[in-house]
Symmetry: D2
Subunit: 386 residues, 4 copies
């Protein structure tokens, strides 16, 4: 296989998981601007996700969020997905929207609240059994707002205990993906603020516990690709929650704020043999003001473009320049790939996959946007955070 | 008057405005945790604010937020306040919660939306006439989420036009306070991101336009007291929205995250003759997880303590050390005031004002908290952001 | 003229000023790694700058730094430049390396130190008269390290007084470019920390006072292109000091850390009619570990590529999408230009200018690097900061 | 023993290590302002350190930096220290000032450079054997300035290999303290950027490898006390490099920028039983513009004050409020200790130790400052970074 053929094959095999909640309404603490045609049920979210996969060809799975996507019959939901060419993906837990969780969930000072939270996590594993999902993604809103509010260290002990119980419940092929986040909604400490904390917990749990990197969850200036390289070296990179930020956890479309950073991250994934391995590529975004389905299609395309550039890096030339200590030469090899316009290549890839080379235009022509606005009348729209 | 007597007199004359919305429920985009006993109307918010003033003696005015605090009869509302020893304070506009404002208000590309927003601002001045408020505080959620989304510069032109119309409507004794904010809810640009932008607009408008500094609205590392000193030097510091942040616009209790910074800010206010002038001291906080009235009392006390320390700075000794280039000596003079425990002094001040020296304990004993939980049943609780 | 011809013409007319000090050694506080062949005098710096211009065609002027580039005969220096196809550019003052400036220069508490500093600035204008330079660029290291160390506001008064004296000395066609910087070498306050402070001083001085934006001098998260758009709208953007940063004032090659940001900045320049106007495009970089001349050539090329992309933005389509409130469509128009590989276009431009299409390869083949290593033996190498 | 007696006993037993290099000249990349009376040799640095200990009573050890403090006879140096009531403390390596280290030391692509660096580290252990030092502190300036410059992951492999060799050389009672730093002097990646990376390496090395927290080495917004609590929980907190920052690694006096943060850090140390254990309290500061010995005395006092406040926290009341979920109450317990003026207590402690209650005034009266200015004439002053 020629090198270009290998790049194309890799791009065709890429899989980006889209999150069910991104199809619903979302907003900031100030306002949720509702959009027309938004799904009113998990079933309709899958219908929309199927559109994204139909036009991109690389978004075959959908992440669910419990309880937002709770249904009576997960097997039926899985069939609904399959009928549309999709599979159910990662199960995301929610331990931040019940009134009991005001001061935390698995780290709460009250054992009864912790029990409730752990029971929810165990229920999520039950759902994974039903859906055939591989990954349980855990993000905890736990933390404190004021110095002294709770005992930072005791909360780590409680966290470790909860994780251990859930880990013990995982099946042979199931994984626990532990997400970290510097702040929000907690504003003094979060209980898993950084990759180091997530990594330390995963180490103690075992090989099925992996760290997930949300690209919006770091302090300003953090070098995310370094973390990616390090976690791959340690065998602990479970996956990504992709999105963009300029300031905090802005949850904009991936690749919208710093496409060069996204490229550098994917370069480390490729270099660390993380592409095509178990590393999950997931979106976690909020389309607060823009049309949701096109925004998700665009996001998938942005991931594809960054991946294509990363695959095009001349690694032999790069290694030579690095070994020679040629700072400018090595940088130039990387920049040469980044500066390449890979859109023609991706159009070719899509045509070879039997797709329209321009997914956004094809979606716009499809009439789906008009159809859902017309049909999804009445009922309650799904909302992120509700 | 001895120096200590002057400090006490200044502390007794201090006035901290509390915001009506801080008495209602608030939260993050993830969840609003409702609390029991929360007010269900502007009238009940004033009842709570009266408690804060009753126990601290230095919170005589309450800021209103339109439309959250819209009533049919503002004169009646003002009487309700006066009956409780309060006055109505700053009027805050809201141009971010109507569906029309998805892409902005006064900066929106559509002239009809801008008209709607300006009309709201003009209505706020009408209300000021009715309430006798001096200040119109303008914070705009306007901005963009994606590069290219709108024309940054054209939005400035639209903003200038809107401000000019509203400024022209102000009465002789009324002021416009223009607030800036780096980000949120807009995540690429905001239309008034920094003090420089607010200042430039105020300059063009005239002397009744002043900049308001929200202590949570800056980029990491920004030296806020420098901005305070500069605005005072320029005669353009209209006031403060006090709160605390560790990360972004966390809206925690003022003095909770960096009490030394609060002291430094108040030192510049005192040094710049801003204390006792027209500079408004306002709180703008969200008590998402803690009890609201005690949190506000505590916040007022934190402002008092920082003010007391600032008033205690030995300014002659400081000036001498500064003139001598004595870096450590000058710093030591400032730190000496900061390290002083001013709580005994403030207890004395309160006793001289006929108050309980411990406002929080006195409030706890008063039974108000239990009373509102018992009585405020049914109806709809007020919520920040709703 | 076709649109493409106009883009090419604009690119051919671009002028990027290179700084004399970037050809000398530089480093961090930890270490200056000396390189072979580095110039030993202003004359040799011009020789190197001539290479950059010879291979890029768009670097016709060189900024000088006084006293680093002090010579007895500036007319002779100007002729030396002209003989090599160059002109002398902006004069940069230095008020941070004399022992007298430990606590500041024009803001120092001691009037004698201020006098010394102002005299130096006046000397710089004398030099401008001799060199024919248009711009005096002022960056002040002034500031304080500790709270209380000096009076923030009094320092502003001293600054204003010094600037006024120097401004009064400017000739009809001369300008004062005032640079701001958040921190370093002062670590508590700087006396011109942000664009607002620089702008406020410039306003009071008059139209010949303009703000200069160094792309590495902002707090994390600052939207630089907003500042650019605002200063252009106010008629106060004097120019840029281009470089790159990941963390602080890293002074890396422009375009190396966030090429998308550089593009957005240049988009606002083009949109605000700042291209081809009096806005100066200057580099201000430290090539601590990489070869200096190739790094400067690369930097010039990076500015060219970002400019080319900005010129290619379909502004009519952009305006239409913006007016329609089409968030994704407007963003897509901008991204389409950014994602274009403009290197072929620039190769064409260079060929039409009679240059080698690949400046870096041509420079490498030229033998200049080997020549200066061989010839510049003995004497003292020029160093940034020395 | 009463509680107060216990607090006093703890304060008397505290030991803060001062760094030899803080007595010498230091500066920024822009300028080193030399001060009069600065030591010209390791012997004179110890003389100055003895003054700090004489007046504070809690600075009994001095950290050395190799090669800056290289002497022919370390036993003689140790006796010189003992004669002055001091002991030699931590040995700090230096792998950033040799020309060979332009692209790194232990992570350099060239094996010969790595060998040279490791040999230096092994030499440091030899010196530890001679001085009786317990700790080898490793900070690496290694990193890259440009994306692609070197292989991030391969550098980790090289780092691990070097650390393992040095670890193997440690004696039974010796420790390796691994420091992390986000940036500077490398501006794209550093090879040990965060506590997670340092921790991961220490885990693989063994129990004698511990993480050291420099309070100036984090991204903006990082919650340092969380890291402290976590490392203590993991048994991997080797010690602190104390200093203050407003922006980057400003290296100001500890407690000068955010005294509340310092208190919170020490609260976690006390809570995690890290006080009086093997956790080393070291200063690592640069007194660029202020008098050096008084600045170090002041820094030691700042650590004492924060420690005293941390020791005064009513831990039983705190635990009760935390268990009850009383957010404001728990915060109030912590703030009560912080707001206490502990300077009278520390004056008492000093008097009980036979010291002057005011170390700075006593030092000023001692005549030492005048003596060293008069006597230390000729020779070459010691400089940080040289």
């Amino acid at each position: 296989m020629t090198e270009l053929a290998a790049v194309k094959a890799a791009l065709k095999s890429q899989a980006v998981e889209t999150p069910s909640w991104a199809y619903g309404n979302s907003g900031t603490r100030f306002k949720v601007f509702a959009q027309q045609g938004v799904p009113r049920s998990p079933w309709e979210k899958l219908d929309d996700a199927a559109q994204v996969h139909a036009f991109t060809g690389v978004a075959p799975t959908v992440a669910l969020h419990i309880p937002w996507d709770r249904v009576d019959d997960y097997a039926a939901l899985a069939r609904h997905a399959e009928d549309r060419g999709l599979r159910l993906g990662t199960i995301n837990s929610n331990t931040f929207q019940d009134d009991a969780y005001r001061l935390g969930s698995v780290c709460h000072p009250d054992a009864a609240v912790r029990r409730k939270a752990v029971d929810h996590l165990l229920e999520c594993v039950d759902i994974m059994d039903a859906t055939g999902s591989r990954d349980l993604k855990l993000w905890f809103a736990d933390g404190t707002n004021y110095p002294g509010q709770d005992d930072i260290r005791a909360r780590q002990d409680r966290l470790a205990e909860a994780l251990a119980e859930v880990y013990g419940r995982l099946g042979e092929e199931q994984r626990m993906l532990l997400e970290y986040k510097l702040f929000e909604p907690a504003f003094y400490t979060t209980d898993v603020p950084d990759w180091g904390t997530a990594y330390a917990h995963c180490l103690k749990l075992g090989p099925k516990a992996q760290v997930v990197v949300d690209t919006g969850h770091h302090a300003p200036g953090t070098n995310i690709e370094f973390i990616v390289a390090t976690l791959l070296r340690e065998g602990r990179l479970g996956g990504f929650d992709f999105n963009s930020r300029f300031y905090a956890d802005d949850d904009l479309m991936v690749g919208a704020a710093d496409p060069f950073q996204l490229f550098r991250i994917l370069h480390e994934v490729v270099r660390g043999d993380g592409f095509g391995s178990g590393v999950a590529f997931m979106l976690d975004q909020c389309h607060n003001i823009e049309a949701k389905i096109p925004a998700i299609i665009r996001s998938v395309m942005n991931v594809q473009e960054a991946t294509a550039k990363a695959l095009l890096v001349d690694r032999a030339a790069l290694a030579d320049a690095q070994a020679a200590g040629d700072v400018l030469g090595a940088n130039a090899v990387l920049m040469d790939a980044y500066n390449t316009d890979v859109r023609p290549l991706l159009r070719e890839v899509r045509e070879e996959m039997g797709l329209d080379p321009d997914p956004l235009a094809a979606y716009a022509r499809s009439g789906w946007a008009e159809k859902i606005v017309a049909e999804r009348v009445g009922g309650e729209q799904a909302g992120w955070g509700a």
